[in-house]
Amino acid sequence: MGLSLELAQISKTYNGHEVLQECSWTFEPGLTHVIMGPNGTGKSTLLRICALLEVPDRGRVNFLAGGLPLAPDLALKRRLTLVLPGVGVFNTSVFHNVAYGLKIRGIGSREIEERVGAILETVGLAAKRRQRALDLSTGQSKRLGLARAMVIDPEVLLLDEPTASIDQENSEIIEGIINKIKAERKATIIMVTHDPIQAERLADRLLIMKEGSLLPG
């Protein structure tokens, strides 16, 4: 039973400009929702609010399990994650970047070794595990970001332009990984992209961000 995410009349204003205007939507458990829309319409802002990184000025964000709302505490935050468009690579090895989410959850080193090793295989970074993560190429960094998110087995996975500035082949690898998470984890996925063909391929639900609100696409 996956988590659903309910946005109730979210508003967010930056410097007097209302980016999100009473935006409401229910993201359904286990489905992939793809959000499209022009630059600067608030897609990233919306994802940060969903990830509980930012609080809206008005409105509510509710996570529901079997119809029951969950308290927005650390335990809930650890069931979801956001892959940031800029990834935010830590200045350490590839291995330790991926191990991060497990270490802070107090998971033992043997299990970390196993799980990180498996994920690195999946994203094709196994050969780079000892390398300094800041030395990875853009596409490899994006895959690292995905690996870091995958390893913690999120029930809600938020993806902000995971294939932006990535070549065709690597985009396909990343899409494959997203599909795998969906199939294996039954995770609720919300993804922002500017690629309509990719949106078509991945989306169970297609949404458009327009004038501060989400509309069915």
Binding site: T81, V87, H96
Partner: protein
């Protein structure tokens, strides 16, 4: 040949000195001093070793204290909204340029028998010297730690948070990203205190075998015309400075370039 003498403003000694310079030129005196200095160093002269060891203990202790107190303060100012942060930063920046003699003087007045802290009987002890050098190192360590942590890309903090870090883990993650800058501050602080003489000579009193460190010994022995020990210590001090600077460069290179070397996993 006046002015060649390596003593600076100190007057020529009137008392008989170990080196009979009267019949020799100053250049010969210095040369002879160098030869004797190398002999002292090579022989691992116990007096020399004792002075070096105390220097390392005093400066190392001061640095340790400065890091223990300065890193948390720098981190707190960088990561949380601290009241009076601007004022504290201004005070720290002023402190980075504090003349050591002034620190020595003020600390002397505080620690002297009739001073407000006189009851602690710290004057003319290594403890007083550590406090003095701590005061000199603290602003550098704190200010550079603050700068390093403030300059960590905000996305690191967001990444830590979305991966499930609690507030403590989030702070530690950001601090760890700043580690090269923080270490740079520590080394800069060490460089400042190992080379200074003004504060430790006032609050330490330069007591033989007790509070005599490299810099104060150089000042005293030069004054006495006893150049071989002074030169030997001068060489060692330069060597220490060189080591500190090499360490600084190495850390800055590590932080900046993709050398593949990773500090602290």
């Amino acid at each position: 040949m006046e002015g060649v003498r390596a003593g600076g403003p100190y007057p020529l000694p009137q008392t008989p000195s170990p080196i009979p310079y009267s019949g020799l030129s100053h250049v010969d005196t210095i040369l002879q001093g160098f030869i004797s200095a190398f002999k002292l160093i090579l022989a691992l002269d116990p007096e020399l070793l004792k002075i070096i060891w105390l220097s390392l203990q005093v400066s190392g202790g001061a640095l340790l204290l400065a890091i223990l107190l300065g890193l948390p303060l720098g981190a707190l100012m960088a990561l949380r909204r601290l009241p009076l942060r601007g004022l504290i930063l201004s005070i720290l920046n002023t402190g980075m340029g504090l003349p050591p003699v002034v620190v020595g003087l003020v600390l002397y007045l505080l620690l002297s028998r009739s001073g407000p802290l006189g009851f602690m009987s710290l004057l003319y002890t290594p403890g007083a010297m550590i406090i003095a050098q701590f005061i000199l190192a603290f602003p550098i360590v704190t200010s550079l730690a603050h700068t390093a942590i403030v300059n960590v890309n905000p996305i690191i903090r967001q990444a830590a948070r979305v991966l499930g870090a609690n507030p403590w883990q989030e702070a530690l993650t950001v601090i760890r990203e700043a580690r090269y800058g923080i270490i740079t501050g520590g080394i800069a602080g060490l460089g400042r205190v190992t080379a200074e003489v003004g504060s430790v000579i006032i609050v330490g009193g330069n007591i033989a075998g007790y509070t005599r460190v490299i810099t104060t010994t150089i000042a005293l022995e030069t004054d006495k015309g006893n150049f071989d020990l002074a030169i030997a210590l001068g060489i060692i001090l330069l060597g220490l400075s060189l080591l500190i600077n090499l360490a600084l460069r190495a850390i800055q290179r590590l932080g900046r370039t993709s050398s593949g070397v990773i500090l602290w996993d």
